[in-house]
Subunit: 195 residues, 2 copies
DNA sequence: ATCCCAATACGAAACGATGAGTTTTCTTTA
DNA sequence: TAAAGAAAACTCATCGTTTCGTATTGGGAT
């Protein structure tokens, strides 16, 4: 989500309001699902007008995605990996950690919102799904090129087979996103790519 | 979803109303998402009172689940399989066919509703997820017992790794639930269980 | 440098629309 | 008599939009 803060005639947008909105959203998300969260509640907690929120963001999903990204630590890049297998493993471990955090349910709920609205789907894909899938797909492709991985599986299916089970567990039985799953999943899943 | 049509004093429940509600729901689902579908619209189309719907079902998810199950062909049992691998393959193929049908989006949307409401989650689990997962888990377990499958993977993770990618594709990039996926997925996924 | 105007953003309130789930009322069915 | 039916009304909440008065800028004129 970007704001084009071009140097135009007129009152500039208030970073204070924006920050208040994102912080209020994060606070409300600690006790409210995405579906139950209302723009009215965010506006009230942030002490801003609803029009201000709608001026900056197209819908609730967009606000929540920005609020998530605004949390400290959410933009931490991964270290450089020694192999493509290692790179994928780090991506999967990072995903599991994220989904097993206080943000896990929120992300499940955002994925759900994406099923109901094309606008929300695009936002969720642009901000979370596609960066993840593209990074993994790249590692798969390079690993297949250099002989690290088997060649007889398309990278698209492989991405589904690496990421799908994590999201499925998140949505179907989230209580099983636990330490054991953390410790074991990535290695088991990577068998899909190995001879 | 059951109705206890016990022989009680008073007016019996009308199978005609129930059927009208389920048919109306199915018709509306052809052009409306679960999220956009309203109880008011169902009541209007079925020419029943809202109270009648709420008398039979706790919420919209429950009505939709029943409407799906009410469609002809939805309760078709699978034939007996020659091996546990074959049984799992048939379950996965059936799931892919279901999710690549006109009901696929509805099921994605129901799964989404389940993230927002414990009542809806229970309904979705009872009616779709758990029967599927239990059937596959049973075949895995038996296949591990008789040596058909490798033993070093817990059946719960294996179920996630077999079902998860299908649901993930349904929700993340449904346009790729296509013939090629139909033809190839189950065999690739079953490698997880093979030596 | 100062002032003024136009443009944009702000918060607050109001608006019309919609639908949830519940209650009420009268009729129907055993 | 009891339970279910349809229809209408009810209260409440929220959506996204509109309206309004105030605030804050940039740019031009003086």
């Amino acid at each position: 989500m970007e704001n084009t803060a071009a140097a135009k005639k007129g009152r500039p947008r208030s970073e204070k309001s924006r920050s208040a909105i994102l912080n209020a959203t994060n606070k409300l998300l600690l006790q409210t699902s995405v579906q139950e969260l209302s723009i009215e509640a965010i506006a009230k907690k942030a002490k801003v007008g609803k029009t201000t929120i709608y001026r900056w963001w197209p819908n609730k999903t967009a606000v929540v995605m920005d609020a998530l990204a605004h949390q400290p630590g959410m933009q931490t890049p991964l270290p450089t990996a020694s192999s493509h297998r290692e790179a994928i493993k780090m991506q999967l471990d990072k995903l599991i950690r994220l989904l097993d955090s206080k943000n896990g349910q929120t992300i499940a709920q955002l994925f759900s919102e994406a099923q109901a609205s094309d606008t929300s789907l695009k936002i969720f894909k642009d901000n979370l799904l596609e960066p993840l899938m593209d990074a993994i797909a790249y590692s798969i492709e390079e690993g297949q090129k250099n002989g690290e991985f088997r060649q007889d599986i398309e990278k698209e299916i492989a991405v589904d087979m690496l990421c799908g089970p994590i999201f499925f567990r998140l949505m179907a039985h989230p209580e099983d996103l636990n330490d054991e799953f953390h410790d074991t999943y990535a290695n088991k899943a990577l068998r899909v790519l190995e001879a």
